[in-house]
């Protein structure tokens, strides 16, 4: 009998602890109405960033992100044109494969892509999850980012002079640095040429 009474007392004590929360403000976030502010580093969907001034893509089709991706969610086709420059023909990101690890962002030297704090992309159609370059760019238009490319643009400047309008400006500012670094970039491009994985990729995926 005593045991029962003791037990009851303990139960009431426990209820007291829950009771203390009665008057308090709830921690619940009323989601569709109020939303958390995403931290800066939040890793939501991947977007392609555009140049802050002229709105063109930052991507130089170097394919580093594709190689860094552990799930092979990124697919880039960028054959070399007649002028030996890489032209972005296809940039696809499959969000059904992506694991939001952020390795692509780390691999990118040109501030071309970023994992943002956006997360509301549920859909009724599976095909909507395969984003092409336009959608990736559109979603990324309003994303604020630190352009770590500024110095490096000048190195790469000789490459895409035709396509990007912002180059003349950068060329004007510091012409000295251009001479020092093209050699490095040229070496890089050579390496990519030798491996030549560009043509083989679509085939292997098609087979699969």
């Amino acid at each position: 009998m005593l045991g029962y009474i003791k037990g009851l007392v303990e139960l009431v004590k426990g209820l007291g602890i829950t009771g203390k929360h009665l008057g308090k403000h709830a921690v619940t976030l009323q989601y569709p109405e109020e939303k958390d502010i995403m931290p800066e580093r939040s890793r939501g969907v991947v977007v392609l960033l555009s140049d802050k001034e002229d709105g063109s893509l930052n991507c130089t089709a170097c394919e580093l992100c594709m190689r860094a991706c552990p799930t092979a969610a990124i697919r880039i086709i960028a054959p070399r044109g007649e002028d030996k420059k890489k032209k972005l023909e296809l940039f696809e990101l499959d969000f059904s494969l992506c694991c939001y690890c952020g390795l692509c962002e780390e691999a990118c030297n040109f501030s071309a892509l970023k994992l943002t704090g956006k997360y509301e992309y549920s859909t009724g159609n599976k095909d909507d999850l395969l984003w092409d370059v336009n959608k990736l760019q559109d979603v990324g238009r309003d994303v604020d980012y630190v352009d770590k490319r500024k110095k490096k643009v000048k190195k790469v400047a000789p490459k895409p002079t035709e396509t990007v309008d912002s180059k003349p400006k950068s060329d004007e500012i510091k012409t000295d640095k251009i001479e020092t670094k093209p050699s490095a970039t040229e070496n890089k491009t050579d390496k990519i040429e030798t491996t030549k994985p560009v043509d083989e990729k679509p085939k292997s995926e098609g087979e699969a």
Binding site: T28, K126, L129
Partner: protein
């Protein structure tokens, strides 16, 4: 089910019967959308986020979503986590045990297409779409609780737009 499905056929023969169809449709859809009881079907990482969504901060109950342990009492499967080939028949069984109308949310990359386990994995099912029909896909690995809530809102919207005629056909 039969009566509801045949309601439009009979009521529209009566003059003004369309009103009955529409209002029944609206009421039914509203009732369904606002009380989606979901089956706790969590297998992996997404299940932890599903738990977080059910807990204090995000509180699933606000959307009328209460977890049920039995498939017979639930309207919705949230397939949270990797479905392996060994697990796939069980998922199908659970789906078959649910009463109509039933809905499926595929939460996270693994259930959509295999996610990180699409390549090089011999035991993971490459998406659940060929096991059970899916209504809403939520990308993410794992999706944030907010993503899940948003996915559920998407499903509710989908349900409210349904017509009586295709009420149970899936």
């Amino acid at each position: 089910m039969g009566i509801i499905k045949k309601l439009p056929i009979y009521s529209e023969k009566i003059p003004g019967g369309g009103i009955v169809t529409t209002s029944v449709e609206q009421i039914l859809n509203f009732a369904q959308a606002k009380s989606l009881w979901y089956l706790l079907f969590g297998t992996a990482c997404c299940a932890i986020e599903l738990m977080c969504t059910g807990a204090s901060r995000y509180d699933f109950d606000r959307l009328g979503m209460i977890f049920r342990a039995s498939p017979r009492q639930s309207d919705l499967i949230i397939a949270a986590g990797t479905i392996t080939k060994k697990m796939a028949p069980r998922l199908r069984t659970l789906y078959d045990q649910m009463a109509e109308p039933r809905y499926v949310i595929a939460m996270g990359g693994c259930t959509i297409k295999g996610g990180p386990f699409y390549y090089d994995s011999y035991s993971v099912e490459k998406g659940i779409e060929h096991i059970i029909p899916v209504d809403v896909f939520i990308p993410g690995c794992p999706p944030r609780p907010e993503s899940l809530l948003e996915g559920c809102l998407t499903l509710q919207k989908q349900i409210q737009q349904r017509k009586l005629a295709d009420w149970q056909e899936k």
